[in-house]
C-alpha cells in the first residue's frame, strides 16, 4: 500500500539516501551497544580471577615435634583461596626439611622447568622431576636437566609449637625480553 502513495519529500532520492545512511548508522551503533551490554559483565566475570590476588596465608603443616632434623618430607596444606567445591583440588604441596632445631627449609613441589611435581630421593639427596629429567640439589639449585631456575623457596615459621608455611602462587618461570 505505502508503495503506491505519492512520494513525500523525504522519499526523494537525496533524502532517502540520507535517511538510510542515518538508519544504518543508528542500527550499527545500537548493535555495538547491545553487544557491549551483553559481553562486558561476562568478560569481567571470566577475567576477574586474573586480577584477584589472594592474600598469602600461613598454613599449619604439622607440629614442631613431628619434624626430625634430616631429609625432606612432603607436606600438604590448603590453597589460599579455595572455592567451596574444590575438594581435593584445593590442596598444595611442599617439600620441607628441618635443617636444625630452629631452622626449616621448604620448597614448592613444582619443577621450575614446566611445573611437574619433583620427588625428593633421600639417599642421593636430590630432587628429581619425572617429566623431562630435571634434577636439583638439596639446596634447590639445579643439578641437571632443563630447569632454568632453582626450586621455589617457601617461607616457613614456627608459632606456638606449630610449623607454618606461607602460601604462594604456582611459581612461573618467566621470559624476560632483553
Amino acid at each position: 500500500m505505502s508503495d503506491q502513495q505519492p512520494p513525500t519529500p523525504t522519499d526523494q532520492p537525496c533524502c532517502q539516501l540520507k535517511r538510510r545512511t542515518f538508519l544504518t548508522r543508528v542500527s550499527v551503533i545500537l548493535g555495538a551497544i547491545i553487544g557491549f551490554m551483553i559481553a562486558l559483565p561476562g568478560i569481567g566475570y571470566v577475567l576477574a580471577p586474573i586480577f584477584r590476588k589472594p592474600k598469602h596465608k600461613w598454613r599449619t603443616v604439622g607440629k614442631l615435634d613431628d619434624f626430625k632434623v634430616g631429609g625432606f618430607v612432603l607436606v600438604q596444606y590448603e590453597d589460599p583461596s579455595p572455592v567451596i567445591w574444590a575438594g581435593v583440588t584445593a590442596k598444595a604441596g611442599a617439600w620441607i626439611r628441618r635443617a636444625s632445631e630452629t631452622e626449616f627449609i621448604a620448597f614448592s613441589i613444582n619443577c621450575r622447568h614446566l611445573g611437574c611435581p619433583v620427588r625428593w630421593v633421600d639417599d642421593p639427596k636430590l630432587f628429581m622431576c619425572p617429566c623431562h629429567g630435571g634434577v636439583y640439589y638439596e639446596d634447590g639449585t639445579v643439578a641437571a636437566g632443563p630447569p632454568p631456575e632453582p626450586l621455589y623457596k617457601l617461607n616457613v615459621r614456627i608459632r606456638e609449637g606449630l610449623v607454618e608455611i606461607e602460601t604462594e602462587p604456582t611459581p612461573l618461570t618467566l621470559t624476560t625480553l632483553t
Binding site: I84, W85, A86, G87, V88, P117, P130, G133, P146, T173
Partner: protein
C-alpha cells in the same frame, strides 16, 4: 490410502520447509567423477565429530565439572553407569579418530594442492578448524580430571607463562586463579563443551558453504596447472560434462569409510575400554607421571630434547609459526601445478613431517630423558655375585639413584650413558672425578656419598665389561 496420506503429509512439510528446493540441490550437486576414494577423509572427520557431539552430550548428563566430584563422576561413568564405559571409550577413541582424520584430510588436500585458486579460503577455514580440534583434544584430556589432568594443566599454564609480558596473565587465566584448583576444571569444561564446539560448528558451516560455492576439486592434472584467469570457467564446463551427482554417486564411498571408522571407534571402546583413570586430582600429590595423550607426545619429546636456550622459542614458536605458515600457505602459492609429481618439496615436507612425528612419538613413549623411579636392584646374574663388596657396590648403585639414569645389563633408566661396559672405558680416577663432580647433565655426588660408599661403587663399576678374575682382589684405595 495410507501411502497417499504419507505423500500428502510429506508434500505439505516439503512445501513449508523447502527440502526439495534447498537441500536436494545441495545433495545432488555435481562433483568430479575422478576423485573416488581420495575425498573420504573430510567426511570421516565430520562423522567423528558427530560421534563426539553425541557421546559428549550423553557424558555431560553425568559428568560433574567441579573439584573432587569430577573424579567421582568419572569413576561412576566408567565403573557403574550402564554402558558408561563404552560411551567414555567412544568419546576417547572418537577424539583420536577426529584428530587423525582431520590431519590425513589436510595432508591429502596439501598433496593435491587443492588449496590453490579459488579454494584458498576452504583451506584457511580448515586450518582454523584443525587448531580448534587440537584444542578440543587437549581440553578433553584435562576433563579426565585425575592426577595426569592436574599436572597437564600445570604444564600448559607454565608454557603459557613463558609468553613475554602477558605470560603470567595468560597462565592465571588458564588456571582460573594463581594455582590449580576448583576454578580450573570449570573453565576447561566451558571451553570444551560450549566455546570450542560452537567454533567447530561455525567452522564446518563455513567450510561446507565454501565447498558448495567453489565445487569439489578434480584430481590434479600434470598438463593443466591452475590459472586463475581461466580456471573457473573451465571447471564449470568440465563438471557439467563429466560430473556426477554427489548423492549417491560419490557419497557411497564416504558412507562405507565412515561406517568403518565408527565401527573401529565402537570396537575399540568395547574391547580396549576407555583410558584408565590415574589417582585423584590432588595437586599436592607427587606420585604422578604426567604424559600427554598420543597426539601431543611428539611435542612433549621436543620439549625434552631441546637445548634450554631454544626452549621458550619452540614452546611459543611452534604453535604460532605452525598456524601462520599453514594459514597463509594458499596466499603464498595459489596457482600453478597441483600434481604431486611437479611439487617434490610438498612430498618431501609430508614425508619429513610424518617421520619426525613417528620418531618423536616413540621417544615420547619411551621417555629416555626421565629418571626411571621404578627401577629394581641389579640381580646377582648381572652383578656376578650376591655377596661381598661387589654386591654392596651394586646395591649402592640402586640406593644412590644411579640406576634411575644409567642402565647396566638391561637394568636402569636411559637418562645418562649406559654403564654395562664402563670398566673398559674409564679409569678409577675418571670415575671418582665424574661421580664427585658430576658434569654433562649429571649431578655432583660429592656431598651425598661417603668415601667408603664411593669406593664400593667405583670397584663395582670397574668390573663392568671386564673379564671376571677368579678371585676378586681387595679393593685399592685411591
Amino acid at each position: 490410502m495410507s501411502n497417499n496420506f504419507v505423500t500428502r503429509t510429506w508434500n505439505w512439510i516439503d512445501n513449508r520447509i523447502g527440502f526439495s528446493d534447498y537441500i536436494v540441490p545441495l545433495m545432488v550437486h555435481l562433483v568430479p567423477d575422478n576423485a573416488r576414494w581420495w575425498y573420504i577423509f573430510g567426511s570421516a572427520t565430520l562423522c567423528a565429530f558427530i560421534v563426539q557431539v553425541f557421546t559428549g552430550v550423553c557424558l555431560a548428563m553425568s559428568y560433574v565439572p567441579g573439584g573432587e566430584e569430577t573424579y567421582q563422576s568419572l569413576k561412576y561413568i566408567t565403573d557403574t553407569a550402564p554402558l558408561g564405559s563404552i560411551l567414555r571409550g567412544m568419546h576417547y577413541y572418537g577424539a583420536s579418530a577426529m584428530v587423525m582424520m582431520a590431519v590425513i584430510h589436510m595432508v591429502q588436500v596439501y598433496m593435491h594442492a587443492t588449496y590453490k585458486y579459488p579454494r584458498e579460503m576452504n583451506w584457511m577455514s580448515g586450518v582454523v578448524l584443525l587448531f580448534v580440534v587440537l584444542g578440543m583434544a587437549f581440553t578433553g584430556q584435562l576433563l579426565r580430571w585425575d592426577a595426569n589432568g592436574v599436572w597437564s594443566v600445570t604444564v600448559a599454564a607454565e608454557m603459557a607463562g613463558r609468553t613475554p609480558i602477558i605470560g603470567p596473565t595468560l597462565a592465571h587465566f588458564i588456571l582460573g586463579g594463581e594455582t590449580v584448583g576448583g576454578s580450573t576444571i570449570t573453565r576447561f569444561f566451558a571451553m570444551h563443551v560450549f566455546i570450542m564446539p560452537a567454533l567447530i560448528f561455525a567452522g564446518i558451516g563455513l567450510h561446507m558453504l565454501l565447498i558448495m560455492r567453489h565445487g569439489i576439486s578434480e584430481m590434479p592434472d600434470v598438463n593443466d596447472p591452475v590459472d586463475p584467469e581461466t580456471y573457473k570457467e573451465a571447471y564449470e564446463k568440465r563438471i557439467h560434462k563429466t560430473g556426477v551427482p554427489f548423492w549417491p554417486d560419490a557419497m557411497w564411498r564416504d558412507m562405507i569409510f565412515s561406517t568403518l571408522i565408527v565401527g573401529v571407534i565402537l570396537g575399540c571402546s568395547i574391547f580396549l575400554g576407555p583410558p584408565a583413570l590415574d589417582p585423584p586430582p590432588n595437586p599436592s600429590s607427587i606420585n604422578a607421571n604426567p604424559l600427554p595423550d598420543w597426539y601431543f607426545l611428539w611435542y612433549f619429546a621436543v620439549l625434552s630434547l631441546l637445548p634450554p636456550q631454544l626452549e621458550t622459542w619452540v614452546i611459543l614458536g611452534v604453535p604460532t609459526i605452525g598456524f601462520i605458515v599453514l594459514f597463509f600457505l594458499p596466499l603464498i602459492s595459489n596457482k600453478g601445478h597441483r600434481a604431486p609429481s611437479k611439487r617434490p618439496w610438498a612430498g618431501g615436507t609430508v614425508i619429513f613431517g610424518f617421520v619426525a612425528f613417528l620418531v618423536l612419538t616413540i621417544y615420547g613413549y619411551k621417555k629416555p630423558w626421565s629418571p626411571d623411579f621404578g627401577v629394581k636392584e641389579l640381580p646377582a646374574s648381572v652383578v656376578g655375585t650376591d655377596h661381598g663388596p661387589l654386591a654392596e657396590g651394586a646395591k649402592l648403585m640402586h640406593i644412590k639413584g644411579c640406576l634411575y639414569c644409567h642402565d647396566i645389563g638391561g637394568y636402569g633408566g636411559h637418562r645418562g650413558p649406559e654403564l654395562t661396559e664402563i670398566g673398559k672405558l674409564l679409569t678409577r680416577d675418571d670415575l671418582i672425578i665424574r661421580i664427585n663432580n658430576g658434569g654433562h647433565n649429571m649431578p655432583a655426588f660429592a656431598s651425598s656419598i661417603s668415601d667408603s660408599e664411593l669406593q664400593l661403587v667405583v670397584d663395582f663399576l670397574l668390573t663392568r665389561g671386564v673379564e671376571k678374575e677368579p678371585e676378586n682382589p681387595k679393593s685399592t684405595t685411591p
